[in-house]
């Protein structure tokens, strides 16, 4: 079975992820979209690694690392989102057209 099937699938996921990143407004949703992209990456890696079964398992391992890192990132990301949310309640809106001069 051609490896291209998987590649196209990953390409699909990747571009859907891009779409989400570009079209979504909610930070969490953007994060979800990025997760889609990361999965596309993983599918690629795994597909390749089994396509080149004799060339070792680098692809799969790589994929594992990606998953791990993704987990870490999600953790951080949500923490930041929560923090931000918390400040929204407390901090006055007028002070916030910031970081521009």
């Amino acid at each position: 079975m051609p490896v291209s099937y998987f590649l196209v699938l990953s390409a699909l996921l990747f571009s859907i992820g891009i779409y989400g990143v570009l079209a979504r407004q909610n930070a969490v949703l953007i994060l979800l979209s990025i997760e889609l992209m990361l999965n596309a990456v993983n599918i690629n890696l795994v597909a390749f690694s089994s396509m080149l079964a004799d060339a070792g398992l680098d692809g799969q391992v790589f994929a594992l690392f990606v998953i791990a890192v993704a987990a870490a990132e999600v953790g951080i990301g949500l923490a930041i989102v929560i923090l931000m949310f918390r400040n929204r309640q407390t901090v006055d809106v007028d002070e916030m057209s910031l970081m521009k001069w």
Binding site: V3, L12, F14, I18, A23, R24, L31, N39, L64
Partner: protein, 169 residues
Amino acid sequence: MEVYEILFWLFAAVMGVSAIRVVTTSNVVHAALYLVATLLGAAIMYVLLFAEFVAWVQVLVYVGAIVVLMLFGLMLTRAPIGKGSFDNDQRPLAAICALAVFVVSSVIMVDAFEGQEIDFTREAGTTSEQVGNAIFSDFVLPFEVVSVLLLAALVGSVVIARRDEEAAD
């Protein structure tokens, strides 16, 4: 048409649809759930590709941890469960762009891996032991580093997320 092909097409379809829903649904929780679907689909794909270990990790870490975390996050920030658009005003542009990326990359990849077959006739896929060997032979350094990284991430998210009771700064 072999069985694994059927499986592939089936779950590919599922993944595609749910992925699209992830980025289009107007309900945050649904979005998260669709993501779960996609990720599970991905796990199936890994199985098809003889990467059981990766598949398990995918299920555990992603579906188990990440998505749950996400849902927590959504709850915590009390995102509206109900309707409401989360999209900005440029879906078309985004769509075009995504389409462009998709077309270009898939065309190129298909062309590049013309005739590259995945041999499904091989017997049992990679065992977790093989993976372990691989990790501890060639990937010791990344492994160690990743552990530090995870630690850092942990500490980081704690620092960020915890309410520091005292009124600092």
